[in-house]
């Protein structure tokens, strides 16, 4: 909270002084972030390739026209959407459950809080390595547990055509849950406790209290973190690169992996940039639909 806006704040560092303060951050942002973004969009309309001596030419929408008929890319795109939705939804539900639990006066809460942070702090590469050890067909704990429970001999999760995508989705949920939990928990702790107690006195059950008191207060945060999670998940790379590197047979080849290979293995910079543009456009569309739908849905309840 701050004092009244206006008169007081304008004093002091204004005009030229402000520019001087802003410039050190602004320059790198312009050169290494805004600039490359615009450059990337331009590249999508060229035939830029790595290590070629001929000058790069404008080719208009040719990359996009090729992309339209690139079934491999659209398959990868479909996998990317399955992955993003498959990770984001369970991530949110599990995180909400955990946040609600952590908001109660339970014993062992400190332990759960500490553990909930671990996946967040770990390098993604390590998360990938760790789950490779879990999924390992012989030395992995998953198959060993299944064998102990008498549920068969287990399988090679990450190389099975049917199991690879679900297996990496579980890892995605695990890795992204903490941040969502912490965010939701912070939101929960901002909901008015008195309202909760008043509702309880009025005889509202747990579910009704959640619907009428908790959820309305939590909604904005829940929407924001879900939208962000969706973007982050769709753009994720390291986890799947380490776990399966897109295999088996491209079953887990997320669009980011596809574009990475196109750009840095085959050197097709222009084509890969066009893929990036399409990814951004589709994600923007999805998010717009999601947010509009959610905001409208809110008026009915």
């Amino acid at each position: 909270m701050r004092g009244a806006p206006g008169s007081g704040r304008r004093r002091g560092v204004g005009g030229h002084g402000a520019w001087f303060l802003v410039l050190p951050a602004l320059l790198p942002i312009l050169v290494l972030s805004v600039g490359p973004l615009l450059y990337g969009i331009l590249l999508a309309f060229t035939d830029a390739q790595s290590g070629r001596t001929d000058p790069t030419r404008w080719i208009g929408g040719l990359n996009f026209r090729d992309l339209l008929h690139d079934t491999l890319f659209w398959e990868s795109f479909r996998i990317g959407l399955v992955w993003a939705v498959g990770v984001t939804v369970p991530q949110f539900l599990l995180a909400l459950g955990l946040a609600l639990l952590l908001n109660q006066d339970l014993r062992l809460r400190w332990l759960a809080r500490a553990l909930a942070i671990v996946p967040w702090a770990m390098p993604e590469v390590v998360v990938g390595i760790m789950w490779r050890l879990v999924y390992n067909p012989d030395a992995g704990i998953l198959n060993e547990t299944l064998r102990d429970l008498g549920l068969g001999d287990g399988r090679d999760w990450l190389s099975g055509l049917a199991t690879a995508l679900p297996a990496v989705i579980v890892v995605g949920v695990w890795a992204g849950m903490p941040q969502t939990t912490v965010t939701l928990l912070a939101g929960l702790q901002n909901t008015p406790r008195e309202l909760h107690e008043a509702a309880a006195v009025d005889g509202a059950g747990a579910w009704r209290r959640f619907r009428t008191v908790t959820w309305p207060a939590l909604r904005p945060i829940a929407l924001a973190i879900t939208a962000l999670n969706f973007i982050w998940n769709f753009n994720s790379f390291a986890l799947v690169y380490v776990l399966t590197n897109g295999g088996p047979g491209g079953r887990t080849r997320l669009p980011m992996l596809f574009a990475y290979e196109e750009a840095f293995r085959y050197g097709q910079f222009g084509y890969a940039a066009a893929m990036g543009c399409v990814m951004v456009a589709v994600i923007a569309l999805f998010l717009a639909l999601f947010l509009v739908g959610r905001l409208k849905g809110g008026d009915d309840t």
Binding site: G8, R9, R10, G12, V13, L21, V22, P24, A25, P28, I29, L32, S33, P36, Y39, G40, L94, G97, L101, Q104, L106, L108, A114, L115, I117, V118, P119, W120, A121, P123, E124, V125, V126, I129, R132, L133, V134, N136, D138, A139, G140, I141, E144, S159, W174, A224, L228, N235, F237, A238, Y241, P255, M256, Y260, F264, F269, A273, M275, M279, V280
Partner: protein, 277 residues
């Protein structure tokens, strides 16, 4: 609030389920790191190594240049953290205290950059750095990390600056302190904890980062720890599990320690940054 015993039991069961789900992969990593090769080859692995050993750690250092990679990572992460905070703090101050078109544009960029598709930025970035002759070098990577850490750093720092009451600065001005004096002796000390937390957060993100490092660093001697870790996994996906686990465990420790220190401040900063005045 009273809770019925049955409900309580249900809550504890659920909490236990979460604890197991969150903890078991990490415990398995620790367990694997201390197992001798013979045990790793056996078909019935156990949670607790029957014959705990440190050979995996020694072997990990022999197989890959881990120390070298760690020093590259440290350099990149320290550089990114220090520079990011140094350039972000003044800008965050202006964004928090002045409602100019520039600070609005900057706030907009902070939000948009969260949705930034790396794939669209990485190719131009690769070409730009190549022209600047900063490709395949840790300083070049530091520059990229700084820009990459800026959105979140700005987001957090704006929140921390807002938490410093303007009245304090005004009081100092009334007492005759100059602008610089006010900033240095009134604002800076109050901001210090927030600045440290932001720097540590930037440190962890840079320490953990993989994609940019993979693309921008080609020479093995210049690669950072996450990139070198992937070298333990062979082309066919076959890996020497023991050293792999040992190296992964070591690479995680710094992040875990730093994260434990700043965890509370991060969530606090996220929320204060999110609360619009």
């Amino acid at each position: 609030m009273r809770t019925r015993p049955a409900a309580r039991a249900g809550q504890y069961t659920a909490l236990l389920g979460y604890l197991v789900f969150l903890a078991f992969p990490f415990l398995w990593l620790v367990s694997t790191a201390f197992k001798p090769p013979r045990e790793l080859g056996s078909l019935h692995p156990t949670w607790i190594p029957r014959d705990p050993t440190l050979t995996n750690f020694r072997q990990a250092f022999d197989e890959q240049p881990l120390l070298h990679a760690a020093s590259n990572s440290l350099l990149a992460a320290l550089g990114a953290a220090v520079i990011a905070v140094a350039v972000a703090t003044p800008m965050a101050y202006v964004m928090a205290r002045h409602r100019t078109r520039l600070s609005r544009a900057a706030s907009g960029w902070v939000v948009v950059s969260q949705a930034f598709p790396f794939v669209l930025v990485i190719i131009p970035l690769f070409l730009v750095l190549k022209n600047l002759r900063l490709i395949d070098s840790v300083p070049g990577l530091v520059m990229v990390y700084v820009v990459w850490a800026l959105p979140f750093a700005l987001w957090m720092l704006v929140g921390y600056v807002r938490a410093v009451p303007v009245e304090l600065e005004e009081a100092a001005a009334v007492d005759g302190a100059g602008r610089l004096r006010t900033l240095v002796s009134v604002t800076a000390p109050l901001l210090a904890p927030g600045i440290v937390a932001t720097a540590l957060f930037a440190f962890i993100t840079a320490w953990n980062e993989f994609f940019l490092a993979l693309v921008l660093l080609k020479t093995p001697e210049k690669q950072t720890l996450p990139v070198v870790l992937t070298h333990f996994i062979g082309a066919e996906g076959v890996a020497d599990l023991g050293p792999l686990a040992a190296a992964a465990l070591l690479a995680t420790l710094p992040s875990l320690v730093v994260f434990a220190v700043i965890q509370r401040r991060i969530t606090g900063g996220m929320l204060t940054g999110a609360v619009k005045s």
